[in-house]
Subunit: 481 residues, 4 copies
């Protein structure tokens, strides 16, 4: 089944507890009306003839959201990218940007876990996925923990308390009780389901932190502290205050050896999603920079052209790498899952994240000091001052002062700390990507390539039948010595 927008809106009225800026939110759809409409758009598109063929698929005679399908090929992954791109083009979305990635990441991880430990979590996951197909929930990943003192393990007594990572507090006959907090949970307010999973590895001493499960947003004990000033709840802190989760929604419960796998398996999918929507944002950044350069009369200047070329390249390289990651996946033998190419995916994420601040520098360089000193929109509305602003903040005649002010406002918005931090930290810090690339690069092939040049013996399959010397050489009779 695919929800109607109306059904989606109603589904957010599940008794969830949300605080923002000191106030308890009474009704989610009312308080976050504009954002809820944008999120509802995903369900609306899935019902329209033109976009249905992208968003929906038939399975066992029923129409379901394509997003819930297990990705089995590069094309499946690429289709998820197209869903993300389409939502972005329509300025829609919010119901499940991270959630699908956590669904797939956890599904893959618990299959591996089951195989190693003889457990049966993947059955839970299969049923949960079937439930999702049937109920079409908004869904999001709840991964980052507050961490406290990062140097210390979660269970270290030197931590101020033991709840810096979500933990399994108690097992009962019917389920588990978890406590703790997850941070920066994008789109959580607009979701129905939270997929809770560990943010890092844990040792045996910290096995209570090795917990993965699905929690509905309205579950007693769940509390959302939305980001200050945000119009959609932002990336809230979520408190889990002794929350009960029935066994059929548990995907790991103490198997600490697999804690890291859950985190990385999610991240592999999610870094691609991020590279997908970020590429679109970066296209907007490049376009905005060009607009600003035109408004300021700067397109003739070599240095500005260099900035613009770099920004266009910045956007397009991100997109090309993301597409390459989708279309050159790795296949997990045991599960049949297609997983985005890890080197390309992490390279895409690292590329956009490590260069964001440089991009903002260029954008601000083109915009000029006015991005720091613009008078208020209230001065714009004040008839005593509007005329001065209109006159003096005009740029090139082809553009109105108002459009220039909107563009400057967007430069200011993009240049905020929040945007910088999200570029770096959403989907894992810069060092994580370097670490993953270090771990996942095909060093055997790369070393074989080098050894071949050095004349060292090479047994890598890609090179092993190749001769060191040219396969054909002039016979002595052809030489004139």
């Amino acid at each position: 089944m695919i929800k109607t927008p109306e059904q989606y809106v109603e589904s957010l009225r599940d008794g969830r507890i949300v605080y923002q800026d000191g106030e308890l939110i009474k009704d989610i759809p009312t308080r976050y009306e504009a954002s809820v409409n944008r999120a509802a758009g995903e369900f609306w598109l899935a019902h329209q003839p033109d976009t249905k063929k992208l968003f929906a698929m038939e399975e066992d005679g029923e129409e379901i959201a394509f997003s819930f399908k297990i990705p089995e090929t590069g094309e499946d992954i690429q289709r998820r990218r197209e869903i993300t791109q389409t939502l972005n083009h329509w300025n829609l979305g919010g119901a499940r940007l991270t959630g699908i990635d956590s669904l797939n990441g956890v599904a893959h991880a618990c299959t591996v876990l089951d195989k190693a430990m003889g457990t049966n979590y993947s059955e839970n996951m299969k049923k949960y996925r079937a439930w999702c197909k049937k109920n079409d929930p908004g869904i999001c990943a709840a991964v980052s923990d507050p961490k406290g003192n990062r140097k210390l393990h979660a269970e270290d007594p030197k931590q101020a308390h033991k709840d810096f990572y979500v933990r399994l507090k108690e097992k009962t006959k019917d389920g588990i009780i978890i406590t703790g907090c997850k941070l920066h949970i994008s789109d959580a307010i607009l979701s129905n389901e939270l997929i809770v999973l560990p943010s890092r590895n844990h040792n045996e001493g910290g096995k209570e932190y090795a917990v993965a499960c699905a929690v509905s947003c309205g579950t007693p004990g769940v509390k959302f502290l939305a980001t200050t000033g945000s119009r959609n709840g932002g990336h809230p802190m979520i408190i889990f205050d002794d929350v009960f989760v029935p066994w059929e929604r548990v995907f790991m419960a103490g198997e600490w050896q697999f804690s890291r796998l859950f985190a990385t398996s999610f991240a592999r999918y999610h870094r691609l999603t991020a590279s997908t929507y970020k590429a679109i944002q970066l296209q907007g950044v490049a376009g905005l920079a060009r607009l600003m350069a035109e408004m300021n009369g700067l397109t003739h200047a070599t240095r500005i052209q260099d900035h613009l070329a770099w920004l266009a390249m910045y956007a397009d390289v991100t997109d090309a790498l993301a597409k390459a990651a989708a279309l050159s996946p790795v296949y997990d033998q045991g599960t049949g899952f297609a997983i985005p190419n890890p080197v390309y995916t992490n390279a895409a994420k690292y590329w956009f994240a490590s260069q964001w601040h440089e991009a903002m520098k260029y954008l601000q360089d083109i915009t000029g000091g006015i991005a720091a000193t613009m008078p208020s929109m209230k001065d714009w509305e004040n008839p005593e001052t509007k005329g001065y602003i209109e006159k003096y903040l005009r740029g090139a005649s082809e553009y109105s002062t108002e459009d220039r002010m909107k563009a400057i406002a967007q430069v200011i918005n993009l240049g905020s700390c929040a945007q910088g931090v999200l570029s770096i930290h959403a989907e894992g810090s810069l060092s994580t990507q370097r670490m993953v690339i270090y771990q996942m690069a095909d060093w055997d092939r790369l070393k074989a390539r080098a050894k071949r040049t050095l004349g060292m013996p090479v047994d890598h399959p890609a090179f092993k039948d190749l001769p060191t010397e040219p396969p054909w050489a002039m016979p002595a009779s052809m030489l004139k010595k």
Copy 2:
């Protein structure tokens, strides 16, 4: 005379017209109380026994602010730096950060202009400086013009109008009438005097834009549009709506050939001032990063240590270059002015401005996602949520949650677009510094150095008496061949 703080406060009640966020400000000291107190601190310090010897000097039997002295040596320049540093250490200032630089820059430029054109502007300047010594005004530079379409000259008919650069609209027997607007005029609200000067060169066709003069803040026709949200008026737009300036306060009136000189002469002083206060800000950035790393338990990590080392270096290199610029000045032959070393000054400014965004990337990398997603201070005050925040946003046990939240708030503040834009654009864009360094580097000496290595003839004084071959060589008898 050196003003008392009380006198300074009263001096701001001169009838000036200031708008902020849509409202006409009724009383400057009341509206901007905290900032006015900080600015008044400069006058207070000049009267205290300990700091008087730095801030004040005696001249002709009268006590005056040292800042108004013509800089004649590197030590004079360095003492201005120490005044700036002292104000920063006390968290004070605002009355004359840019103004002294414009006073000195204009003084130097109009001396050169007089010599070339037979005019007499430097007499005006001498009298004006004497007036300053006597009246001890807050003073600021009004330099940046809105520019409109930057590709076009000010007078180009394709500009939307002809007032994108402040211009001399009319000369009368008693003075001149100027019209136009200056942008981003730091500390203008806290000053008494505006030193208006051109922001760039103008051609003969644009000679009406070649105008420099001193304008009191309360002069009829002057209107300030303060920066939105600022607590001190920020960097307001200043409107000059047919403002009359008497001849004795005019320092250039149409001599277009010298337009650029006024701009660059100011900039040489001001980039050093900027490097001085920025070095202090950067020390705070390095210290904040270290604090944040301790709060997050990250000081053991190699990558974090590398970030921290870089940030400490970033701050200290800026300071070392600024000090070198002060202590290796160039001396203007005609005027006796000492001017900060142009290569070191521009290198200091370029270094801090070009790396600011990188520094913020490191700071944000250390801080973590919380700098994008922190709940509101109102949630902190709400008893239903405070406990959760206190518990989960705690870092290492040595620091309280509250201190960590303050530190995060400061990371957010530093990471704003405004801070980035000010780093780049205050005191001229990055390309300006490269251009100046290209123009001012001692290429003859550098080329001579290279030519000497190549064995090409060198006539540069630094090398000309040096032999190409070693001055002493073993005689054949010492060789064993």
Copy 3:
């Protein structure tokens, strides 16, 4: 027909005049034996069952080299990449790395020229291509001119002489006479044919420089000055000393308006070829760095892992971008030519070229000082010193000293100025790629993306039917206000 290796070797004995290191080369195959064998390998592979299907194709019942086929699809372009990759894997090649790109570039350009000017050069090109298919020559592009004073046009009388760019000196009934010099002509010694084309635009005053043609290497007046120390002739200067070219081998003769098109049309193909072989070299660099890190016992260090991750990413990103460029070509309407995607191609080239020196810094950082101070191989062979070297230059026990020394020697070789210069300048300088990206980026689409965010009207096809507001919104009845 596809040549046998024997035929290829004999074809180099065409009377060509080659100087290297002060000496006139007597017999090309004998002097450059090893390199000729490597080049001959391309012909040998084209006859082997396994590789024939890649290198060869049938056309009109005859077997021809696939390389001479007009690229009509992304797959055609990708197949040329695979040919280049295969040759690299076998350590072979040299007969036609640049030549095919010039053939296709010139073919495309003279079609455009004919259409605009009513000339008939593309007939010449068709016949020439047919001749190539039949005779299977080694072929290379002769593009770069010496340029003299780059600030001046070729014909400027302030140039030291008028031959800094190859020029058409005379037209006769049977053909043209050209004079001048081409520089850095990779693999020229191993080719049979030189495709001469302009390196830049020329004005009407310089129309004699607008000349493109095919010249056999043995043509009277052609002289090669090979690169010092090279084993394959390197990238020789080629002198054209009044060389006669028959009309049927002329592709432009004075149509100055198209001079730039010939240069850029070649470059579009060639930058992709370069990105293809460079990606392979970079894989070798990454692998060598890893080997070196293992030999030195450094793989545990965070900073070294970061270097290695970066190097792996450097290589793989180059490859991903090159592949994307091949598979997302643009199609020339008039001619049916598929041309590599210009933004991806230039981004790939810019990426690898702009980062080469950084890569070498990392490689040298890992290797250590020994890459500057290694004793000679002669000391290694000297029994009095070999033992010391063997003992002290040993690294980790898993590798022999000899292998470590070979690896260090390769680090030294890669770190040479020549490698740096080739990375930057082969296929056009860094600024050229930025310029091309600035010119070819799809600014309309990028600006539309930005305008949509700003709420400005958008008429770009990609966005024009999309609503600004969400297509579905809660009716008032669903709100609880």
Copy 4:
């Protein structure tokens, strides 16, 4: 006493054993004549009236080389810089670039060691210094060890052997016997004395590696393996094959706790020396780039001007930081030694080393492809080809082809791997400087600066008496509320 050049030359004939490129050198002054003349120049200058006052000083009625004076003030350090600069300007030097730094570093370290352990090494050092003043030897530091597998300690049995670090093999009544090898020992062939000291810390298990001493170059068992192709012996490997060192020349013998101190104490002095001579080299690089730009007719191009500005800044910033390091030294309490400011010194070294490859990229970008493809000087001498080269490799008319070729040759030389590696690794790798800056930065002051901004209590002396609030505030009576 100060040696005459003749005495210096003769002093190199001490029976030392030197191998280069497979051959045993018969006579040092004859084989390395030109370099020996350059080194002898230092002694010659010390006797000339003009330069004597810099190079020489009187002590106890005797004239001695200033270099042997203990540095007690910033001015002393700066004077050593001037000696280095003067030698560079004359193209002289080689007798003691690193040696003085090791003398001072070891002197400081063994004073600290004595104080802690009750030993008496500093007496040895005092006598040794007195001997130096009297005998005026060439002197160099022998620090870097081959290291083998860097991950393992020197004494780890997994190392291929135990001699990867110089070690104290035996103590006898009269002295010690050392064995091992030191690498990359600049100017060793031109010295008389080697100051041997550890390159890193060692644990108690490796106390035999904690050894520092002075060894004359002709001592039995010492063997030099000079760098291949070098004209002055380069940076040879030095073998210590059971070398006997009398006790009076021993400065540490097993006190492993101080091993690191010897290394860092040397490095603090030596990084400043390096920054001093490197600044001069970088001035040559900037000048060469400018020359090359003029020769190629490129000085009008914005991008080239930006490169040039950057290169000038690169050189001058290095110099300014080095000067700041000299003039803001730290003073060792116990010993009275002045030591270059560690943050400025390491920042100078890090700055020049981390940017060298970028500088070469710019230089090569300006030079063009010819730096990879230049024909041989033999082609230049061959009358059949010289004319072509002279004609076509000419640049702008103001310069001869020959000068342009010399300049290109210098670009090639600077761009070599050896130059890159020396920039990075001489005086410690890049990560070492970051580490030292991390360790030596004045974090207490930096954190205090940040805390003050955050309103946290500050007890640092620089801030502790400063009020948080402005010291003066308007009384309520002055407000208009």
